[in-house]
Symmetry: C2
Subunit: 547 residues, 2 copies
Amino acid sequence: MDKIGYYYQLTLKMFLEQGMSFAPNQIIKYRDQLQFTYTEHYNRVKKLSNALKSLGVRPGEAVGMLDWDTHRYLEAHWAIPLYGSLFHTVNVRMSPEQIKFCINHAEDVVLFVNEEFIPLLESIQDELTTVKTFVLMTDTPGHVPSTTLPNTIEYEQLLSQQSTAYEFPEISEDTRATLCYTSGTTGNPKGVVFTQRDLVMHAISVLISFSCYPQGMNVQANQVYMPLTPMFHVQAWTVPYFAFMLGNKFILPGKYEPSLILKWLSEEKVNHSHCVTTILHMLLFHPDVEKYDLSHWRVDLGGAKLTRQLAERAWELGVFTLSSYGMTETCPAMTICNIKPEHYDLPVEDQIAYRIKSGIPYTWGQIKVVDEDYNEMPKDGKSVGNVIFRSPWCTHEYFHDPEKTKELWRNDWLNTGDVGYMDLEGYLVITDRNKDAIKSGGEWISTLTLEDAISQFPPILECAVIGIPHPRWDERPCVFIALKPGQNASAEDVRNHLLKFADAGKIEKWWIPDLPDGYVFIDAIPHNYIGKIEKVTLRKMYAEGKK
Amino acid sequence: MDKIGYYYQLTLKMFLEQGMSFAPNQIIKYRDQLQFTYTEHYNRVKKLSNALKSLGVRPGEAVGMLDWDTHRYLEAHWAIPLYGSLFHTVNVRMSPEQIKFCINHAEDVVLFVNEEFIPLLESIQDELTTVKTFVLMTDTPGHVPSTTLPNTIEYEQLLSQQSTAYEFPEISEDTRATLCYTSGTTGNPKGVVFTQRDLVMHAISVLISFSCYPQGMNVQANQVYMPLTPMFHVQAWTVPYFAFMLGNKFILPGKYEPSLILKWLSEEKVNHSHCVTTILHMLLFHPDVEKYDLSHWRVDLGGAKLTRQLAERAWELGVFTLSSYGMTETCPAMTICNIKPEHYDLPVEDQIAYRIKSGIPYTWGQIKVVDEDYNEMPKDGKSVGNVIFRSPWCTHEYFHDPEKTKELWRNDWLNTGDVGYMDLEGYLVITDRNKDAIKSGGEWISTLTLEDAISQFPPILECAVIGIPHPRWDERPCVFIALKPGQNASAEDVRNHLLKFADAGKIEKWWIPDLPDGYVFIDAIPHNYIGKIEKVTLRKMYAEGKK
């Protein structure tokens, strides 16, 4: 049959236009420094789109950004994908070496750079192979940062040259929209691609899960929203898209400073945020927290497990919390701890037990726990297996890496790499996250990169890094070391060796294991029958040693 | 790029599975007669799917249904489209002649028939060209209706032969899912097709518009839902799909009986319904209405304009109302009267003015008012033009009629045929619905069919039918008649002529214009320069005559 008429594509434009038409006078605030109406914001997005054209960016090419949660990030969030280019949200917490890898791998043609990250880029500028223009961004009006970077222009100057007259092109919903690199389990980060449609369907699912369930996040039109997971981190869970659609007031916190965040949460009567447990911990145990009224605030937690202690602290302060589970490849939503109707009448202290689980699937997510042959495990609250997932928003592409993509989609399910079980009430419980990787303060530490650095210390025969529990950072790395016969080395020696790698930008300084718990010397690293290091055994050894 | 992994299709299965996983013990009630848990319902849906297979239905073939709002309708709502066949929701309010046309045009291979409609089908059975099996449905347990229809089987008997083991096939989101005929503006009804994806996107949009806007419908998980526009009428606005997804309790009213509906609304504490103004009027002005507590009830009105009088009556009784505007081709959502943030603090009596407009677009709908050359009209509260529409859910197909489809999509916009203007606050105001057609008691009267019948009365030279306002039915037909020179005829004569057409099943009896207002004799019917009857002039003449 011939196609007749207009076929509406699922693109981010849906959210932008709907918000503009519903609440053209709503406010977007950047810290205490700037504010824009939705209409002004919309016009700046159109100018930015024209700017991309003036810089010669072609549809499909990647454009990178290094910035905190600013009004500029939100502008780029719309303009870069809606222009038809690929928005590379550079993770500024990676090491310079990794950032260099990502920019070259993405083939970014333009980089938008907050002046704070200019020195970082200068340190790798000779090795960047594709960047034609650097757009410098500063919070100081009228100031143009000085730099040795070539071909630079300041962001506001660039925008000021542009017209607001711009028609977003009609693009296919299957157009690549965003690219964010994850250093989950391998040496080189992998570029996770989401299409326009992926982002749209993810945003819809999260919105429904946040809006339609009693005693949940209660997100509504005309509320106040503050992101508290960085916008470079899986597109801030796509919440900015639907928050704008609903005419929410935006309070953009820039670089996170707990005392200022507390002040704004209270002054602006913020209704909802997404956050990682590390940041929430800093806020709720801040010495001044009792001075602020946080009773309007509802928070969805991700990144690492929400502990009962933290959930109870939140409740004491009038803050509603629930937890979510996900990963970069799932955009990130997989499960959310919305409670089921049979628990609506439970007292809060009993509800908390449900709110800190891994959760039930986000709207339309499909979770299965399976054995190695993909047979579903009994939902009996104890049968542990591999967690696999399907949804209308999963990534279908590690950028330029079909092999890894095929591995991810083994047996036509997204293989999370995590293990867990389904409890008797239909909640997922994750028992081991991504097996080998470590999440510390909400950010990944690549064990392979760390092991690579450590093993370059001459006395070392072999090493293996595992995550160990930490009260503040959830997890910290711990390295098991087998020395070469007749060699000697202390924990301090290994640490000093690693400091040199950090100074050289090869690893992050905060990746270095802490003294003394982070260093364990053993005779030999255990391997399984196919030669893979048995990290499960190491974790058991660590736990035994702690008893 | 090769496609890797599983591509999640937007199909109705998303809503079914999500509801099952969230609320397997929730209840679906049919009147005071029957109730099923979601799990039992789900199993019946699977049995019905197997039944389709056992009846030899092939994917893509049409299966029709003639029934009121029953548990069976809801079962078919899922099973027929998810099996991959085309669900023809027969409008039982059409004339037998039209119903015959629709069934043959749809090429229904199976018809599900409530015993009330068996005599109707018997009257046309010899002219049905494609139906192989009639599945008879009755509310009386154990009873098998007797009929002259060939190849019949009773619904419960059919289900009882089936297994609950059934895997819904993986179908493309572009598969045709539903087919409903509209007798809007032409002689023969047109079959409006919606794909799986159309229905999914429509349901999502309506859900967001019903759930996320303060002082709106406030639809949430675990509420109580009663449909009050028939399920054969544009799939009950797709509300059953998302109501199930949210684990809502269903109260299915069967054939509408105002006194029973009032009783159930009160007893079951129903939270939300979609309804036409005619039915709402019957309920709210029912002699016993004050006996019932309707204060939980929120109603979205469609079909015809919600009057201030009716909205105020609702408010007196504690019922929340707002109005929507749409048409069959838009599934039907176009606009909804959610109020904007600047009106949240208005007193209710002032908010009512906004709630009875045509509204602002449903989430992601795009409305434009344009001149004949598709230039947008000023949004000045007075510039009237043609209303055109785009959305992620518009029909792309009049069944087997590409020419009419192309007309509908002239200039790549869905041409509603309605005229109106945008007011200064961004609300659409419809001034003329579908120009020539008449909507009476929520149902279309085809003016062309009526004119065709009237003009067969020998003394008549030419006639034209317009809609005139009516306090109860919103609109009634009025025929302007020009007699042949030297001929005579009275209104009574014309009415008697039409009664014969009704008896013959060529038109509905309730289409016949009322005495005396429905008959106006004039010298000549006015035409425009291309020969089209100027109905606008006739409407003015009628209004002048009433002064």
